[in-house]
Symmetry: none
Subunit: 206 residues, 4 copies
């Protein structure tokens, strides 16, 4: 009996936490900026304003967590690709096309992570995401350099540049509201693939 009660309580707590996160995410997407009044977050999540502060020490922490969660999923996907046994060239190819494709499909959420204006306190979370992404890419580049598939280069620098290239391209594509509804552009995906492969000089494997 007792543990059931505990379980139920735990579920409700988790539920509330999730509802707050969800409400924030939706508000942020609607509002078009990585910000939302706590009072409105609470209203949407059907909790009192004080309750929000039981789960998140401050507004900044709440928004940071929203960014973190959204980022982590994308990151996991790309990291999975990076760890495969394939050749570096193919891994980079797949990683880039997957990332761009997913961003274009889940446009509104991607916007949060990539494009939208951002509050000072949260910018760290976004930077962290970009760096984590760059780290994954850098692994692939380093492998490629080692196997001779890619040209000699600083993998960390190249990875950062690739991330930037992807983000900026998506930035353009996502900036128009139309992008949210329409089909992703095949051209953009292909252009990015080719750009990134050339940038690391993947031609060496021919």
């Amino acid at each position: 009996m007792a543990y059931r009660k505990t379980d139920r309580v735990r579920e409700q707590l988790e539920d509330k936490r999730l509802r707050i996160l969800s409400a924030t995410r939706h508000l942020v997407m609607e509002g078009g900026s990585l910000d939302a009044p706590i009072v409105e977050v609470a209203r949407r999540a059907s909790v009192a304003t004080g309750t929000v502060y039981r789960y998140f020490p401050s507004k900044t922490d709440l928004l940071t967590e929203v960014v973190r969660l959204a980022s982590q999923h994308e990151l996991d996907v790309i990291a999975g690709i990076a760890q495969s046994d394939a050749r570096a060239r193919d891994r980079l190819d797949t990683a880039v096309s997957t990332f761009v494709d997913r961003a274009l499909r889940g446009a509104r959420l991607a916007r949060l992570l990539i494009v939208e204006p951002i509050d000072v306190g949260i910018s760290g979370a976004r930077r962290h995401y970009r760096r984590a992404l760059a780290l994954v890419i850098a692994r692939i580049v380093a492998d490629g350099v080692e196997t001779g598939e890619f040209a000699q280069q600083n993998p960390a620098a190249a990875a950062a540049a690739i991330v930037g290239a992807l983000m900026e391209s998506l930035n353009d594509a996502l900036a128009t509201e139309s992008a949210v509804t329409e089909e992703p552009s095949v051209d953009l995906v292909d252009e990015m693939r080719a750009f990134c492969l050339r940038a690391v000089d993947a031609s060496k494997t021919h």
Copy 2:
């Protein structure tokens, strides 16, 4: 007499406008965020708060103009390089190294345009800057593709990716406060030059 007075009035007007812009730019640089209280802007510019609204319809417009002006200067420099008679490869090389070098040297201002968190209303101005920069780069890429120096590619897409790559690399470099005071990193400049030249496949000219 009359026109003189008119002229003087016009000068004073222009003077006030410039003082407001200058005050804003300084405040923004000091504050480290693309924002500044209008009351403080007015105080620094030695005008009344209401006067700020005679020259700029809203705070957002004022900040947008600050970004626009700061961007335009950088843009002019790069555009000058793009319009020279040199080969596309050399122009791209010079443009990239100049841009990165200038950003690293004028770190605090570059930060405004590239790195810092940004208010919703102003993000458009920054995006405009990036696009204008991409347009200039696209011209070089298009020339290179035409002359056969570069691989076949969509110049607009490549240019956007290059701009993103530059921004992200600078982002990392400028994120640390040290960057503001220290000498620019030669390594970063060289890495970026090599990355961008590879990305357009400038090897064809060898």
Copy 3:
């Protein structure tokens, strides 16, 4: 014309400042504690909440000023007595009886300065008042010791004790709401006069 306008503006400003102070004083007296919501202060003073902050940097500053103004007046009266040419014994006698008498007559205001619970930020202002009062009394005591009217003693310590004795006696007298409306007690005044004169051993002058 211009100076008239300036004058009128200045008058209105002063007026508003006074209205804010007055509203605060009344709220504090009604509320029975040295505190008042800024929103309510503003409402009573017929100004916007933000306007209060134009005149006082913070709520604490506002309340401190209320205490300071109320204190200063009482202080001036006692200081005037202390500076007269009379013998120390007579000056102390007059100072004590005047202070107690005034406090009992202006009971509600005296309460602010002496009795009522107090916020942390404002307690400094009250302490300052008590110390200033003690300084004035100490002057009299020192004179009396010098002329041999009073016993040898530390004037500062004696003055602090006298101030405490007065405050505590008033505390009792003012603590009951009845005191606010009724006539001041002649007995209390006389008791305090006698107590204080004995305490400095004014008997020496006989």
Copy 4:
């Protein structure tokens, strides 16, 4: 069996009540103000917040009880002195020096009862303490007046004044943080003894 259980329950209850009071006292001393968040009190006492409300109807009641208990102890000591068989003069002398000395030694707790800013609801408890102290002193003064050791005077009024004198002197002494750590000032004790003895005109016994 049954009564044992009842006893144990009663002990636990009492234990909880004491733990809550103790936790509050410690928090108050640490915090330096006669206030403490109920949530924190509960945490320190290892009970739930709701439990605090089983033992004390409100926060004010809890804090009042803390003040009452702390006061009572001091009061008992002074009352013990007042009830001795010694002459009034000696009892007053001992009472005053004991009170001041104890306050200076147990500075942090004394501060609570004498000096610190106070919430509206609790001020009654402090006033009660002062009055009880005055009552004890008044007994001594009345005795002294009766035996002719002291001058004719209203014992209640004199006692209140003495309490005020003591409090104010301590107020000054305790207001500085240094007082908490340093040795008590012998001078202050002596000055207060002399002041109070003069004030009741204890010279008559010579």
